[in-house]
């Protein structure tokens, strides 16, 4: 079981099954249907899917907030159903949620960031070091004595990220972190996520239904009705417009445009993801067709 490939992955699920029981409906609703997944260390993985596709439920299995009904989840080779390992698992895999207001515990920024290391029982000089470090990473160090409720949504979410970073986790799961933010705040969070992967070696798992946020990922996992329906690099995924449409997701406008152009008989590559890349691809295609004439 302990081959090198397992050592490389930080999160691993084996035949993960989970269902909810509701009081008014005796029939259980299967939310996760036999999920087999491995997330490698140091990668940026986006999990996308429409509402009710099971993506948040899946994320909550990654740090033992929910326990599998069938199958297993391993974080750094630790079984999440082992109750003795629960603190170590949660320290390893931090989680940032949608609403920043509902994650902030304290009334002073630095005291909130200190919450996790305090729970882990570190000595106070170590806590101080981690708090300062975490606040500097998210660029909120100068706000350390502020009251969180006076900050903007994006700033609050950065505090929430710092609160997780103070545990020095190897992996952070972001559960729709930008859903309640304005475009400016959204941008800052996306930048931090990229920064964490690039400069700090943190594995980033982003749960989202914004396709354009998933574009920056190393790998995209598409979920639909409790199953993984697609898994690959962004280029592979967005080339497959028809299957994406079937899952009820919005397709990035760049991919849509290139796809339509190709259908209209243009000889064009479908690999462009950002607006700039897309413009460049169209420009090159036009140039080459001019030359052809």
């Amino acid at each position: 079981m302990r081959g090198t490939d397992i050592m490389e992955s930080i999160i691993k699920t084996e035949n993960l099954v989970f269902s909810y029981y509701s009081q008014d409906n005796p029939v259980q609703k299967t939310v996760l249907n036999n999920i087999n997944l491995e997330i490698e260390k140091g990668t940026f993985v986006a999990v996308i899917g429409h509402n009710g596709s099971g993506k948040t439920t899946l994320a909550k299995h990654f740090n033992a907030i929910l326990l599998p009904e069938g199958g297993c989840v391993y974080v750094n080779n630790m079984d999440t159903s082992n109750e003795e390992l629960i603190l170590e698992i949660r320290r390893n895999t931090g989680m940032v949620f949608q609403n920043p207001d509902n994650q902030i515990v304290a009334t002073i920024v630095e005291e909130d960031v200190a919450f996790a290391p305090e729970n882990l029982g570190y000595p106070s000089d170590e806590i101080r070091r981690r708090v300062d470090e975490a606040l500097k990473i998210v660029g909120m160090y100068e706000y350390r004595r502020h009251a969180p409720h006076l900050l903007s949504g994006g700033q609050k979410q950065r505090i929430a990220i710092a609160g997780v970073l103070a545990m020095r986790p190897e992996c952070i799961v972001f559960d729709e972190p930008t859903a309640m933010l304005d475009p400016h705040g959204r941008e800052s969070i996306i930048k931090i996520m990229g920064d964490l992967r690039d400069n700090y070696g943190v594995t980033v798992v982003l749960i989202t239904h914004h396709m354009d946020e998933a574009v920056n990922a190393d790998r995209i996992i598409v979920m639909s009705d409790g199953d993984i329906v697609m898994d690959g690099t962004p280029k592979e995924i967005f080339r497959n417009i028809d299957s994406l449409r079937n899952t009820g997701l919005d397709i990035p406008e760049t991919s849509l445009l290139l796809h339509d152009l190709k259908n209209d008989g243009f000889d064009i590559s479908l690999d462009a993801l950002t607006v700039d890349e897309c413009a460049k691809t169209i420009f090159e295609s036009l140039q080459s067709s001019n030359r052809g004439n």
């Binding site: 909550k60 949620f97 009334t107 002073i108 005291e111 729970n119 882990l120 029982g121 009251a147 409720h149």
Partner: protein, 268 residues
């Protein structure tokens, strides 16, 4: 309208008063209140007033903030003053109209009572305005920690307190939002009798409760994700430790009490 609540609101700063240990602030506050109740006569009251104003000045609390905080208890102060003026019968009559008698003693008592009340409230402001709620609950937790031995949930209580304090501004904001939403659908919170207005509150309370429960659920998940597992083995970012300024504060408190007792001799 709801944003005006300042009771228990903290103003960050970096003065001597801010740096004091919350426990010593609490103890000195209790000493000051004791002094307040022992004060007799104008010199003692004047002294206590001077002490309070000096402390406010040192802690750089804005006078406007103090006045705003006093506004909710204005009615109680006025009532106390009126009751004392009209119902305390002394010997030196200042004014008489049939059965309404105002005596010098009554006026004095009224002034003292009002001063005592105001200083009592303002000295608690000195505590709450200069101490972050978390530090305050921390201090309380530490002071009450011997009670853990008899199985009192001291940590849980202080955690509940600090989360409640943290959520107050958020829920106030939410109330404002729901209020605007209901108003835009024609809800009327301002007119009508008491019963009609109480009924109008209902569509405000219900969404607020539902959202508060949802928030509580999410907050609990977020706390668990950050390794919260009760008070066992928990450490602190800022460890409370008495230092030189705390002992100076105790000495100051003791001097205030001594001075008040001494000045009481000069009471008229």
């Amino acid at each position: 309208m709801l944003k005006d609540i300042t009771l228990g609101q903290f103003f960050p700063g970096d003065t001597v008063v801010h740096r004091l240990d919350p426990r010593s602030k609490l103890i000195v506050m209790i000493m000051y209140i004791t002094g307040l109740f022992m004060a007799k006569g104008f010199p003692a009251y004047g002294f206590m007033f001077a002490v309070l104003v000096t402390c406010l000045a040192i802690s750089k609390i804005k006078p406007a903030a103090v006045l705003r905080g006093l506004r909710p208890i204005l009615i109680i102060i006025c009532l106390t003053v009126l009751l004392n003026i009209f119902f305390i019968r002394g010997e030196t009559v200042l004014f008489q109209y049939y059965s309404i008698v105002i005596t010098l003693e009554g006026v004095y008592t009224a002034i003292f009572m009002a001063m005592r009340l105001i200083m009592l409230i303002v000295c608690t402001f000195l505590l709450t305005y200069t101490t972050s709620p978390i530090t305050l609950t921390d201090g309380l937790e530490r002071m009450l920690s011997p009670l853990k031995k008899i199985k009192l949930p001291v940590h849980e209580f202080s955690m509940m307190m600090s989360i409640a304090l943290r959520m107050i501004p958020t829920l106030i904001e939410e109330t404002d939002k729901i209020m605007s939403a209901q108003k835009s659908r024609g809800a009327d919170f301002e007119t009508g009798g008491l019963i009609k207005r109480a009924k109008a509150i209902l569509p405000l309370i219900i969404p607020l409760f539902i959202s508060a429960f949802r928030r509580a659920d999410e907050l609990a998940t977020a706390m668990e994700s950050r390794c919260y597992h009760g008070g066992d083995g928990r450490t602190k970012l800022n460890v409370l430790r008495f230092s030189g300024i705390d002992f100076a504060a105790f000495l100051f408190g003791a001097c205030v009490i001594a001075a008040v007792i001494f000045l009481g001799r000069f009471a008229v």
